[in-house]
Symmetry: C2
Subunit: 419 residues, 2 copies
Amino acid sequence: MKIKATLLTIGDEILIGQIVDTNSAFIAKQLNTIGIEVEEIISVQDEMNHIVEAFQRGISKSNIVIVTGGLGPTKDDKTKAALCQFLNCELVQEPKVLENIIQLFQTRGYAKELNSLNQDQGLIPEKSTFIQNKYGTAPCLWTTVNDKIIINLPGVPFEMKGLIRDEIIPRLQNQFQSETIVHRDILVSGIPESDLALLVEEWENNLPEFIHLAYLPNRTSIDLRFSAFGTNKEFLQNEIQYQINKFKLIAGEFLISENSGSAQQVLGDILREKRLTISTAESCTGGNIASLITSVSGSSAYYFGTIVSYDTSVKVNLLNVSQSDIDEFTVVSEQVAKQMAKGVRNQLKTDISISTTGVAGPNKGEDGKEVGTVWISITNGNITLNKKYFYPYLDREDFTKIVSNNALNLAIQFVREEC
Amino acid sequence: MKIKATLLTIGDEILIGQIVDTNSAFIAKQLNTIGIEVEEIISVQDEMNHIVEAFQRGISKSNIVIVTGGLGPTKDDKTKAALCQFLNCELVQEPKVLENIIQLFQTRGYAKELNSLNQDQGLIPEKSTFIQNKYGTAPCLWTTVNDKIIINLPGVPFEMKGLIRDEIIPRLQNQFQSETIVHRDILVSGIPESDLALLVEEWENNLPEFIHLAYLPNRTSIDLRFSAFGTNKEFLQNEIQYQINKFKLIAGEFLISENSGSAQQVLGDILREKRLTISTAESCTGGNIASLITSVSGSSAYYFGTIVSYDTSVKVNLLNVSQSDIDEFTVVSEQVAKQMAKGVRNQLKTDISISTTGVAGPNKGEDGKEVGTVWISITNGNITLNKKYFYPYLDREDFTKIVSNNALNLAIQFVREEC
């Protein structure tokens, strides 16, 4: 039986664009690991009627509704009242929740009397049960509505994540004998999306019904995602592999990776395999490449560090870039990118190094270079690969993201072919 | 008249948690600047029935439905077909869209014949008009349904952003005489959320009806957000300031900032004002602090760069941390944090420097230090501030985020008080 979930996020901060809803992606991923499919994600304001209506919608469509947010002690937190209205019941005091709050305050060194708003945090709908939240003051609520479940979690990411991992996933897994979902991505490059789709059309049309294919185009490559639904995980994994083997016979020349994780993961895997170390010298990407590489657990085995040379003096003093080359070619040039890569490799004593230098905008660089110009350089001491890109339309955030991703992909290619 | 919008995101990748929906936050923010309120955000799968039903829901609740995703050339893109079904009309060929595609391919150096899938990208619902997309092959669709509007945009962030900014916002502003929305955040610290709410209870109860207050608690502080709705922007801004002045009389001692932007923005503003420069030496935050600081446009005026010393050799060789102190106290210690801050300040020649060293996990550090321990150090050459934190429950991503944010907040405090 396919078990379906609706995710419901409550909070004005999402609807005015102040924060990005990262909770839903986390929960969706966790549910997928136990075969539960997310059918819809809804975000609504802190408004009673909107919340009640969203409960109604979720419960009518899905087996499980997971709700985050609106459980705090202040006036703008309305989720518990909305849940009572939806369930047609009252709030009742739950002493164990209060004990938890007192204990949390003691750990945090407050040791204060509970005020009336803290007391209210001990109230839960009488039709709900609670799960203790060791990460914060708002309890998790678990409510059965006929054969369906509403789960309320605090919106604070680290509290939500802890509860999902420790409590919710094990309980759901226990309660539902769900189907299995297997996802796998492969990475394709060097062919436009539409040409690829035509090339593999017959193969795609003949995919078994339980395998769903999606095209996720990036700027320089395409992720092909296989999703398979069934009861036997191993069978599904094998079926996907079988289809990938057939795909390779048709379009193998465009296949970059049979396991497209993020670029930083793929790069990490190759570096580990080849026992190589790497360092970075970043200008326009401002530390974002370092941030991506170190987001991979265990990266300290191959990543030594970065020098972000945002100021020109750092390029000259720390990376040994020639001042006269900067004067002649500007900081955004092949010459400077090369010397940055060489400089950081020498300073940090690694096998390989990557450098970036460019103008992220919104204003022109100090040398009048056009916004969007960037040079990436990669070296292993013997061979150096230099590449120029031009992204005039991107805002600062996207520019940094895309350049960082290009640098990592270029490094993958370089390590594969030259090291 | 209040104009309301529903945002609809289409794509399995969001519902399986593969990507985080950042488009909605961007669009919501842009709509808010012209007084349009986002009432609901929905994400649905690439399934005809789901998409058609979501169109129906959006149009029944809001004046405007903005849809992203599902406009690509491949089989998994179903938005145009769903729109036709919802509008009860056919697809017709629009030659100008094809011309745009041909031109784009030429710019990208493909210069290829349009294949049948590209041809299909020139099809638009006969009840829709189109807006040329100079950033990509999928056109933007604009459909009037009675007195309401459905707008379809590509899901690729930089294409969507360009179209929203260049085309959609100006057109909506032209068409709707909307109310104005003013948001302002202030930052409060040193008091639990519930105590603050009780302290300012009377003031909060007496806020005018057009001002809405929200509490957004972080780990070490609380953002208080004022949202005001009306017709006269200046009046609303003044009213919020008037209320903040009243708030200061009651809870002024806890007020950290009257304009809480992000910590990196606030730090940048103070550094500029005091004409100071800053550098960072990062270990456990892996370049994330650099990334945050450089995300602020114009940061090159005060930020010189970072040395990410992920490997111990970099701490010793580049930051001049004493090897014997590392042996005696481990890399996660007050001594090492201090020397890292001192080292990077000397190397990069800045007025102030920040350092971080800690164990992000999931595995214990090389020295057996507990996961979650972190030292932050800030120095201006004369005075050094060192602080220890312990976050045992956080995953790698949250740990990095929270430590980076603490470091920036500590730097704000340091620069305010000591420089």
